[in-house]
């Protein structure tokens, strides 16, 4: 795993009164333990990966508490886990990246929500929305509405977030509804503090097992005819129960305004801090959140409590609703409430704020400006208007200074990444067989969509690449390539792609990156991760270990894949040849190329301490670095167009006669060998060299080297 949570695990043990300092998502994790959760599951993905990662690493302590932790194979299996709470008074929590994870989990969530739960259920979703997001921009809110799950959107202050976790379980039990908690990216990664409570060892746990299964109860099944009754129950019993709990516990916070109390702001809890910062720019709030307008903070965004909202709006001269994302579900419901009760308070929202996109302080400030201009324009200081105005001007001035926009800097594959050589090979292969339609997938390999490769015609979802070509390849003259990581393969590519292609006898080409981990989410282990024993036994810790786990190969053979090739990713020429063969072979069925090369992050994590220990013991260590001869390099940079490695970059040409910058390999090169492979496979210029530095060489090595040194120096000119 990429991150080690050694310190954080200690923090999870904190008791009453101790002050927890750390990341938001870890505070949530602590909140789960304080709520006496019995089981936790989920699937990794930013921004919530750390929740599950820390629990997995804290296994000894979890066993102590009797908490079961399951690293699920995908979000659907995580959601299905929650079935435990349908019959039994067990509290459970799962987590994943939303919207995508929620999409995958949707079926189980519907079937969970219909019968409802007895034990509290909390679904912690990372709302991957706005700057820094890596997925489609959609709202998780829709799922809460359609399936009848509560949706918490807590004010991003650690104390409040943990508080809402504890309430979440009680709310779930009070209403029999599953409860979702949405956390935006910045809230997950916020560094703050809160006063901890003791953890509750769950009443029912791995240490204190259920005696008997529950008695058969058809009402607990999501199966007709009871599904009809269940739908009624959602509306007639569960929603009212939830609203009652929300009101009684005062989960939503109402701050009365001072000077302009007659103006109301309604805001999703998660946006509260940003709203306050925006109001401060109008001198309408102080540093501690005391505002001159009245504010209603919705820490629960579904279900809404009509009385609460109506009471807030009644008697206000105008109300502005700040609701991020679209469609504006809350605004629509609120408008309907007011209309039905014929309350004439002007309601503003998306008419003054952008319908899509992240609500940053500047965006909110522009909305507030419109709102105040309409209803209280004396409340807007000149300075504020100027500030908002000059922001635009400044941006234009910088553009003028810079001329063209600065080049983008998207993420790229790591130094020495085993996937880069495959795309070099693919680039070369296409020079022989012509352009190929490439069905892309989710994972590190999706970074090949950026320069210098710009590969991939579509990305239809995690593990979907092979399935997504099923409509293309039968209608295309040339064969289609589907690229998939082993993470995506196990997440669902095996079933949606491979099984379907085999069943239909499709003429398809699948390339699986077998790097041994779900690397893009933080190198979490999966079923084909090399075992610790294998890593122990390896004499040379530098070598890739993924070949020691054959689960993918045996699975494919078991399913009946007949054309299966395994290629070491760093052998560019062979990969090129194998790709060409797959594109041109007589064989009609599914052709699978397993590109084998362990995730470089994991390898380096293993190699660095190992080499350090060898050196400290004065033992022989050989390190490899590639380099470019500055006087031989021709300044054409073809090598870079074929690699894109961060350590292969440019420097000024040392030759005063030449003008173009030359390629150079900077520190950080891990000697993966791609440069040399490309130099050969693509017949690049002969400027690349491979240097092997032997530290603590053996005596005969040193002697031999010295002799050769003498001999060569006698031959070499100055």
């Amino acid at each position: 795993m990429e991150v080690s949570f050694h310190e954080e695990i200690k923090a999870l043990r904190m008791g009453d009164g101790e002050v927890f300092h750390g990341e938001g998502i870890l505070a949530i994790t602590k909140g789960l333990l304080q709520s006496g959760v019995s089981y936790v599951g989920g699937y990794q993905g930013a921004p919530v990966s750390h929740l599950l990662d820390v629990m997995v690493q804290a296994k000894p302590y979890m066993d102590e508490l009797g908490v079961h932790v399951e690293a699920c194979s995908n979000e659907a299996s995580a959601a299905a886990m929650l079935g435990a709470s349908i019959h039994y008074p067990i509290r459970g929590a799962v987590t994943w990246k939303s919207i995508v994870g929620t999409n995958v989990a949707a079926d189980a969530l519907s079937n969970l929500s219909s019968p409802g739960v007895t034990g509290g259920v909390l679904i912690v979703v990372g709302e991957d929305y706005g700057e820094g997001a890596s997925v489609i921009q959609e709202r998780t809110h829709a799922y809460a509405l359609k399936s009848g799950m509560c949706l918490l959107d807590p004010r991003p202050e650690l104390g409040q977030m943990v508080n809402m976790v504890e309430h979440g379980f009680r709310l779930s039990e009070a209403s029999n509804m599953p409860v979702m908690m949405e956390l935006r990216i910045r809230a997950c990664h916020v560094r703050g503090q809160f006063v901890a409570k003791d953890n509750l060892a769950p009443k029912l746990s791995k240490k204190n097992l259920l005696e008997e299964p529950a008695s058969f109860n058809y009402m607990r099944l999501a199966h007709p005819p009871v599904t009809f009754a269940q739908e009624k129950r959602k509306v007639e019993h569960r929603l009212p129960a939830a609203r009652q709990y929300i009101t009684e516990q005062g989960l939503n916070e109402h701050f009365d305004g001072s000077d302009h109390r007659h103006l109301g702001l309604i805001v999703q809890g998660g946006l509260y801090n940003t709203l306050i910062r925006a109001l401060q720019q109008f001198d309408l709030a102080d540093a501690f959140g005391v505002t001159s307008l009245s504010v209603l903070v919705l820490n629960v965004t579904y279900p809404l409590v009509p009385n609460e909202l109506v009471d807030f709006c009644k008697g206000k001269s105008a109300v502005l609703l700040l609701e991020e994302g679209q469609p504006e579900y809350i605004e629509q419901e609120l408008a309907l409430m007011l209309r039905r009760l014929d309350i004439q308070t002007p309601l503003h929202g998306k008419d003054m704020l952008p319908s899509g996109g992240e609500y940053t302080a500047e965006v909110m400030a522009q909305g507030l400006l419109k709102f105040l201009d309409r209803h209280q324009n004396d409340a807007v200081p000149i300075a504020t208007r100027q500030w908002l105005h000059t922001n635009g001007e400044r941006r234009q001035q910088v553009q003028a200074l810079l001329g063209s926009p600065v080049p983008a800097r998207p993420p790229s594959m790591c130094i020495g990444c085993p996937e880069r050589p495959v795309f070099s090979a693919l680039k070369l292969a296409q020079q022989d067989v012509g352009p190929v339609h490439i069905a892309g997938d989710i994972g590190c390999h999706a970074l090949a969509t950026f320069e210098p490769f710009s590969f991939g015609h579509s990305i239809l979802g995690y593990g979907m690449s092979l399935a997504s070509r099923a409509g293309v390849s039968p209608l295309m003259k040339r064969r289609v390539l589907s690229v998939m990581g082993d993470g995506g393969f196990w997440h669902n590519g095996l079933l949606t792609g491979v099984q379907s292609a085999l069943f239909n006898g499709d003429d398809a080409v699948l390339l699986i990156f077998k790097n041994g981990y779900t690397s893009a989410t933080g190198t979490q282990d999966i079923i084909n991760t090399p075992t610790d024993i294998a890593k122990e036994l390896a004499g040379d810790k530098r070598q890739s270990m993924v070949h020691t786990n054959q689960t993918i190969e045996s699975t494919l053979k078991g399913l009946g894949v007949q054309w299966l090739r395994t290629v070491n990713t760093y052998e560019v020429s062979q990969m090129q040849a194998t790709l060409t063969e797959a594109f041109t072979t007589e064989f009609q069925g599914l052709k699978v190329i397993v590109a084998e090369g362990e995730c470089q992050l994991e390898r380096q994590r293993r190699i660095k301490p190992w080499l350090a220990s060898l050196l400290s013991k004065g033992e022989r260590v050989e390190r490899v670095k590639y380099g470019v001869d500055e006087d031989v390099c021709n300044g054409d940079h073809a090598c870079i167009r074929l690699s894109g490695c961060p350590t292969l970059t440019l420097k000024d040409n040392p030759d005063p006669l030449k003008v173009d910058p030359v390629a150079t390999v900077i520190d950080g090169c891990v000697g993966c060998g791609l440069c040399g492979e490309n130099a050969h496979a693509a017949t690049l210029c002969p400027s690349f060299y491979r240097a092997e530095v032997v530290q603590n060489p053996r005596w005969h090595e040193r002697l031999w080297a010295r002799w050769q040194g003498l001999a060569t120096s006698w031959l070499q000119p100055a």
Binding site: H21, V190, S412, P656
Partner: protein, 527 residues
């Protein structure tokens, strides 16, 4: 109303931006101030650009009577107190987003660049000029400290995060003293010591404001021109040429002496003389000789064309061995092995043979390719450190004396002549056109396909964009040549080039015959 101090940290994935944010939060905590940090890493940890946002309350808890400030999660454009960045382009990017402003923001930035892929992959020089980036920093900051953080990192053997912390500490941005910061950094490990070293370096650097200012000027000053280079031109040669040509010519002359000997260097001088005469004739009243000056460089580089012989010579030099030893940081007592990657193909070998033999060899290879085989080539890993490898390199290098009898030599000389004639002819018509043609020498570089491509493009310009057969009106030719030359450096496939050609009324390049292995799909053949 006291507002929080807001700080945006910009870093590239893997540079420890998260660590820096944590340090700052800890420093504030130890000093008893409310503080909050957040970030949007996503997959940016994979070397992409990312930011971290912090807010620190200027008053300590002790003065707040238990009240807690509400701290923000997004930076406010124009209301940022500090923008701290480990890379110059990223600094400019964030300023471009409107975050920094001249009335409020302290900008601490690295002067060093980590080039983006887009900049690196261009065929010529695609690097962003640093001048405008630095202008942006200067124009949109209240105060700014620009420093070579990469250098400070190497000096102290630490990550850039420690450097950034040191700079911030010295800037007096936050109400904490040096001890607060060092307390957070200090630890038993060697890495902690390195961090402290880096911290101190940056701290002192920022304290030295004046030198800082000078440093920026130094960064903004263009690199020293070739004029600085030593002038070792034979007196008789020097006499024939105006002074402005001497610096470049002396370098060129030396290059060609080393490349092929005195006679060849003499040939170079003659060729330039011819051109100089033509230019002088064309522009009598003018004192400057821009065409000849431009040609001086490109002619020398073309005449010293790269081939196996030259590469072998360069690779076997002692100076090169020392350079590699330093580059790979091999220490005393280490054993260094250096392997050179060669893949000579038929063209490279044919280049050394007389025309007749060369043609036969090439024909044989073309026949191979026609049969669907790959062109013949011999991948080699020559062990530069071993006697055998060294001996073979020297053997190759010694073929230098035979070079003039090789087919490549003949071809190159012919093309050079055609180019020079073209320039002369053009110069007589219009010096501007001559200058542009001279600049086209830039297209010629490298080995193998790169070199072939360059020559084809140059010839196409000579024969179709200007010259008697050209369809482009003379008045537009200079501008056309310039545009086409730039286009030729844009993409390997030459799409930009063809577009530029057609735009200026010149024909696109003829389609080159290239063996294509048609991807037959059996499924379709059966049906």
């Amino acid at each position: 109303m006291t507002q929080p101090i807001s700080i945006l940290l910009c870093a590239l994935g893997g540079e420890g931006g998260g660590v820096l944010a944590d340090w700052l939060v800890d420093v504030a905590r130890h000093a008893g101030h409310p503080a909050q940090a957040t970030s949007i890493p996503g997959v940016a940890q994979r070397t992409g650009a990312t930011t971290y946002y912090l807010e620190v309350y200027p008053l300590p808890h002790s003065q707040l009577q238990g009240r807690l400030p509400v701290l923000g999660l997004n930076p406010l454009p124009g209301r940022l107190d500090a923008l701290v960045s480990s890379e110059l382009l990223e600094t400019a990017r964030q300023i471009g987003n409107g975050l920094a402003s001249a009335d409020r923001t302290l900008v601490i930035s690295a002067s060093s660049r980590a080039l983006t892929t887009a900049e690196k992959m261009t065929m010529g020089d695609g690097r962003r000029p640093e001048g405008p980036l630095l202008d942006v920093v200067a124009a949109h900051s209240l105060r700014h400290h620009v420093m070579d953080m990469a250098h400070l990192c190497q000096q102290s053997g630490t990550m850039v995060s420690a450097i950034m912390l040191g700079a911030m500490a010295a800037s007096g941005l936050l109400p904490f003293d040096r001890s607060h910061y060092e307390a957070v950094l200090s630890g038993p490990g060697a890495s902690a010591q390195a961090s402290l070293r880096g911290f101190a370096l940056a701290f002192d650097l920022v304290n030295r404001q004046r030198e800082q200012a000078q440093y920026v000027e130094h960064v903004m000053k263009p690199a020293p021109s070739v004029a600085a280079a030593s002038t070792a031109l034979p007196a008789d040669v020097a006499a024939k040429f105006p002074l402005e040509l001497h610096p470049l010519m002396s370098l060129a002359h030396q290059r060609l002496l080393a490349y092929q000997g005195a006679a060849y260097a003499q040939l170079y001088v003659q060729r330039l003389q011819g051109l100089l005469a033509a230019e002088s004739a064309a522009s009598l009243n003018e004192s400057k000789r821009p065409v000849t000056l431009e040609t001086t460089r490109w002619l020398a580089l073309w005449m010293a064309f790269d081939d196996i012989i030259r590469v072998a010579d360069l690779k076997s030099r002692a100076s090169r061995w020392t350079r590699v030893t330093q580059e790979v940081k091999a220490k005393e007592g280490d054993v260094l092995k250096v392997y050179d990657h060669f893949k000579p193909g038929v063209p490279e070998l044919a280049a050394l043979l007389p025309q007749g033999l060369a043609n036969r060899l090439l024909r044989w290879d073309r026949a191979r390719v026609a049969r669907g085989l790959a062109p013949w080539a011999m991948p080699l890993k020559v062990a530069r450190h071993a006697l055998w490898g060294m001996a073979s390199l020297r053997l190759l290098a010694s073929l230098r004396v035979l070079r003039p009898f090789g087919s490549r030599y003949a071809t190159e000389q012919a093309l050079i002549e055609e180019w020079l004639d073209g320039i002369e002819r053009a110069t007589r018509l219009s010096p501007a056109l001559g200058l542009e043609l001279a600049r086209c020498g830039q297209l010629i570089k490298g080995y193998g396909s790169t070199n072939e491509r360059g020559k084809d493009n140059l010839l196409h310009i000579l024969r179709h964009v200007c010259g008697p057969a050209s369809a482009v009106p003379l008045a537009n030719q200079a501008e056309a040549v310039a545009r086409v030359r730039q286009a030729a450096l844009q993409d390997e496939a030459g799409q930009a080039l063809d577009q530029a050609l057609l735009q200026h009324g010149a024909p696109a390049r003829p389609v080159k015959e290239q063996p294509v292995l048609w991807m037959k799909n059996p499924r379709l053949q059966k049906s």
